[in-house]
């Protein structure tokens, strides 16, 4: 039994490592899809800490993603030096902040904002929290959209472009490299970076789940009053869940910024938040394999459908636009999955009562 498990993980690991090299042959677009899927897995893992473990429904999670992305974008693009002569004078070669400063900065700022968001919401329960976090997400987006005036910080709806690619131990991930005579494209380089981040995150999440903190979160999720009565500091633990979730969001945002090279408020709409929640719930809230499955499905599906929707469109006589058809299929899939498997595609074997509707 144990051997079999080891074998499966080994096969999976090799498959994951070879995947981009295989996909590369079909074109970089496919590797890009895999990259984005990994990035969304990272985001979903972060949100899973907040929603899955602590049971706090956060509908503004994309705000932290945005903060990370903008933090990275501002520190690694010509935008600030273009608009602020003082900064241009300080950095004559342009702002190219090293990775070891930007990533902690993005993670830290997002984490602090996560705690700041958590603080006023501590007294709120359930769906009130959902609406407040939703509002927070919108506030951040409106600011990103309008902070180009009177001082141009975010460049408004035009967004920030020419963001540097990540440089990792002297390897710029922005261009292809040769390893042992094998050409690894830039997108594949990013793939390996994201994959290692996902692996690290999975380990962190798994350890958290088993730790005292994780148990306390789950106790809060099951019954907050009982948890409090048992001496759990619900305030600190809830803030910690918000902070940790936000940190994950900040890091993945920074990755997104460098990967795309361009960011604008459009990428951080409420719809994105909702999609991340959908990933977590669709896969199986609170269960790591489920969350990963949900994130991969919902992020990769629309992109893969882009290729499938063409022929399907031809079948309908070109009446339906491919993008509309794609959206239609996603919506139908979300409804169908929830109707057939209300606890998610891959739910955890033991389930808390807070996730059951004990009203009827």
């Amino acid at each position: 039994m144990k051997n079999q498990k080891l074998l499966t993980s080994l096969v999976a690991a090799i498959a994951l490592l070879l995947l981009p090299l295989l996909l590369q042959n079909f074109g970089n677009a496919w590797v890009r899809i895999a990259d984005m899927a990994l990035l969304f897995v990272l985001l979903a893992l972060g949100l899973n800490i907040v929603v899955g473990y602590a049971g706090l429904l956060d509908l503004g999670y994309v705000a932290f993603f945005a903060i990370g992305a903008y933090m990275f974008g501002l520190l690694n693009s010509p935008h600030l030096t273009d608009y602020f002569p003082a900064i241009a004078a300080m950095f004559p070669n342009g702002l190219h902040t090293p990775l070891w400063v930007t990533i902690p900065a993005a993670a830290g700022l997002a984490g602090i904002l996560g705690i700041l968001l958590g603080a006023p919401t501590l007294r709120l329960r359930g769906d009130y929290l959902a609406i407040v976090t939703l509002g927070f997400g919108e506030i951040i987006r409106v600011f990103l959209n309008n902070l180009d005036h009177p001082v141009n910080i975010t460049n408004g709806p035009k967004g920030i472009s020419q963001i540097d690619p990540l440089t990792f131990f002297g390897y710029s991930l922005g261009k292809p490299h040769e390893f042992f005579g094998f050409r690894v494209e830039s997108v594949s380089m990013y793939y390996y970076l994201f994959l290692s981040l996902v692996v690290i995150s999975v380990i962190i999440c798994h350890r958290l789940e088993l730790s005292r903190v994780g148990r306390a979160w789950m106790a809060i999720r099951e019954d907050e009053i009982a948890a409090k009565a048992m001496g759990i500091n619900t305030r600190n633990l809830k803030l910690m869940a918000f902070g940790m979730g936000a940190t994950f969001g900040g890091v993945s945002g920074a990755m997104f910024g460098s990967f795309q090279g361009f960011i604008s408020p459009e990428s951080f709409s409420l719809m994105e938040s909702v999609m991340i929640v959908a990933m977590v719930v669709l896969g199986g809230v609170g269960h790591l394999p489920g969350v990963i499955l949900g994130a991969v499905l919902l992020s990769a599906l629309p992109e893969v459908l882009r290729y499938v929707a063409g022929p399907l469109q031809a079948l309908t006589g070109g009446r339906l636009d491919a993008s509309i058809l794609r959206q239609l299929l996603i919506a139908l899939a979300m409804i169908a999955v929830m109707l057939t498997r209300p606890r998610g595609l891959w739910p955890s074997p033991e389930h808390g009562k807070s996730l059951q509707n004990n009203r009827a």
């Binding site: 709120l124 919108e138 409106v142 929830m338 009203r359």
Partner: protein
């Protein structure tokens, strides 16, 4: 002062439209504890249906007075929206009544995307100009102006609210609704059919949303498949603001929200010396919401839903 009065009028009109949508949210939430994300889309369907009907009627029966056309279009879109919401509840929410709480939330989100997509297919994604059916000469009130359309919006809202309050407080259905909101199981034992009550709630909510949709489109003169999203969000905010599950709270919350938004948008430029512009109007609602909920976690008038953690 004239600017202030003008913004108050605009705020009242905006708030009354939010109120109609917010009531649908709050009734559904009060009874089955579901944030019905597709509610804004029901409003959109109502608006677009009325747009089609108005187009058809203007073509086939030229010369009919504008108000009559609008009334007929309003009635038909109410019926369409009510049928739609009835079906949505039956197909997407009822099977999940006893499932984990997040499941119906996701189907509601899926439904919202589905409705927007279908509307895009049926009505095409472009903005439609919504005809002005009422006389467009504005009425002057102490220097501020109000259009006949806005008067109609206030009138329709007042009538709808009065009918709803009568329905909830003085009819058998209303009593059944209140009983189900309190405790569906006990209500069932008392001879109330919770399933029927829930269907009725969705139908009433859809009628109010369709009215709001027609009003919204006539006020702004456009209709489009994505028009329901933001008003839906604001209306939900209003419902939470007033205390969710509380009908009077939803109305008070919505009107306050409308006032805050339009007065805020009118004055923020002057107050901050032009640093912040009226682009920020969308965030007032949320900032006020966060402040209110921090001070009063169950909304301004308190919630009517019992604590079912």
């Amino acid at each position: 002062m004239e600017i202030f009065l003008q913004q108050v009028i605009n705020g009242l009109v905006l708030g009354s439209m939010y109120a109609l949508i917010a009531l649908g949210y709050t009734m559904v939430y009060g009874i089955i504890n579901l944030i019905n994300f597709a509610h804004g889309e029901v409003m959109m369907v109502g608006a677009l249906t009325s747009w089609t009907i108005i187009g058809l009627m203007q073509e086939s029966m030229p010369g009919t007075p504008g108000f009559i056309i609008l009334l007929i279009a309003l009635l038909i879109s109410c019926v369409v929206a009510a049928t739609l919401n009835f079906v949505i509840e039956k197909v997407a929410y009822r099977p999940l009544r006893n499932s984990p709480k997040l499941a119906p939330l996701i189907t509601a989100i899926g439904m919202s995307i589905l409705l927007q997509t279908l509307a895009m297919i049926i009505w095409k994604p472009n903005y439609k100009s919504y005809p002005t059916l009422l006389p467009s000469t504005p009425i002057d009130i102490a220097g501020a102006v109000i259009t006949p359309t806005q008067v109609m919006i206030l009138g329709f809202t007042a009538v709808s609210l009065a009918v709803l309050m009568w329905l909830v407080n003085y009819t058998k259905l209303g009593r059944a609704m209140r009983a189900t909101a309190e405790n569906p199981r006990v209500a069932g034992l008392m001879g109330v059919k919770p399933d029927m009550v829930i269907s009725a709630t969705f139908i009433i909510g859809a009628v109010l949303a369709a009215i709001a949709g027609v009003m919204y489109a006539s006020n702004y003169g456009t209709a489009q498949h994505a028009m329901g999203f933001l008003p839906g969000l604001k209306a939900f905010t209003a419902a939470v603001f007033g205390g969710i599950g509380n009908l009077a709270g939803a109305v008070v919350g919505a009107i306050l929200l409308g006032l805050i938004e339009s007065i805020g948008a009118g004055y923020i430029g002057a107050l901050t010396g032009g640093v912040l512009g009226s682009h920020y109007s969308d965030i007032f609602a949320f900032i006020v919401l966060i402040i209110v909920l921090t001070l009063r976690p169950s909304g301004l008038l308190g919630e009517r839903v019992a604590d079912r953690a």
